[in-house]
Point group: C2
């Protein structure tokens, strides 16, 4: 028996447009839960089949391999994450401060709304081959580049003050990513409340003007 859960969330959630009808959708959802809770390598095709109400062989009528199921989950996870931060930033106006708030709210919101998808898409991505991971890697790079560009624009305009844009990307992205591990719908704060606080943290990280003689 294991004492500790890998993540707090208990239910697997997929956006309707990412869940195909019939057995493929059931398989995807069952795999999402198992991959999130136990990890890709520790979850077997037999377990995915049992959780889908199917026999193992039936899985292979819908997905060519277990790795293809993971690839699809990683892809839809990063797709939703990329779509949501891009839409948020496009709707936020030209001020880098507004853009950061929009980006972080969307980023954190995705991790509270789809914690299992976020955990699988991030923590299990490394097992994918170059071919099966290509779509996901591209989406991930786009999202990260967008955050970097917002921060760089804020630095160029003099509204942000950090010594190193990339470290700010890493810190802001990293704190958001971890939300998926501890957030669950039973948590006393609503998703938007967590997102608002993290957006404020990101602004604080970026927008505090420090004394240049202090060495930072």
């Amino acid at each position: 028996m294991t004492l500790n859960r890998r993540l707090a969330a208990k239910a697997a959630r997929l956006l309707p447009e990412h869940k195909p009808p019939g057995s493929p959708g059931l398989i995807l959802e069952a795999a999402l839960k198992l991959f999130a809770e136990r990890g890709y390598a520790a979850a077997s095709v037999r377990e995915i089949a049992a959780a889908s109400g199917l026999k193992p062989a039936t899985i292979y009528g819908h997905y060519p391999s277990k790795e293809h199921i993971l690839a699809e989950l990683c892809r839809v996870g990063h797709e939703e994450q990329n779509r949501s931060v891009r839409a948020a930033v496009l709707n936020s106006g030209a001020d880098p401060r507004d853009q950061i708030v929009a980006y972080v709210r969307a980023h954190v919101g995705m991790h509270t709304s789809f914690p299992m998808l976020a955990v699988v898409a991030n923590a299990e991505l490394h097992v994918l081959s170059a071919e099966l991971g290509a779509a996901t890697f591209s989406l991930r790079e786009q999202s990260e580049r967008l955050l970097g560009e917002i921060i760089q624009r804020g630095l160029d305009r003099g509204v942000f003050h950090v010594p190193n844009a990339w470290l700010a990307v890493a810190a802001i992205g990293g704190m958001g990513l971890r939300v998926a591990y501890w957030y669950s719908p039973e948590y006393r704060l609503e998703p938007h409340e967590v997102a608002d606080v993290y957006a404020e943290y990101a602004l604080r990280i970026l927008a505090v003007k420090t004394d240049p003689s202090a060495g930072l």
Copy 2:
């Protein structure tokens, strides 16, 4: 072939006092590298044996099971992390701002100095049984409680200004934890430089006084 690495670090590092002499130490170090790069479930005892220059059966002369090897790695990782943040805070004086700087520097420093150990101790902890994980869970809780107490003291003294102490613990802890995934000795910043920047970020998150009427 996999395109993406799970973490940037390429070498397994253990503190001398955590690496027993002879074969047990070789086994521990080989397992650390394999568990960090591929994950616990995807790394086999055969591979650990090969990387240690031993045969699989020899492993069981030193560790009762593969899970016991992981338990030992999780324990020493959390032990070093707990030891280092406690020592840092004890040496930092009574001001919560100094304590936060000391804590985050030590926390990030541990994740840059021992990235594989940090990744394994955090990402693979969930597979341990209650018995084998007990020592680690206790250390992890101590470290987290220490950070929470520093923040609460700063709030009580009016030097920190956040709406929710636990969210600050999660954000500051989370951004530090992620460092282990991207940092490697080839990175252009030295460990202490990364640690200093992250300590400044933590101070900014906590110590920015906002307008109370703004709702945060």
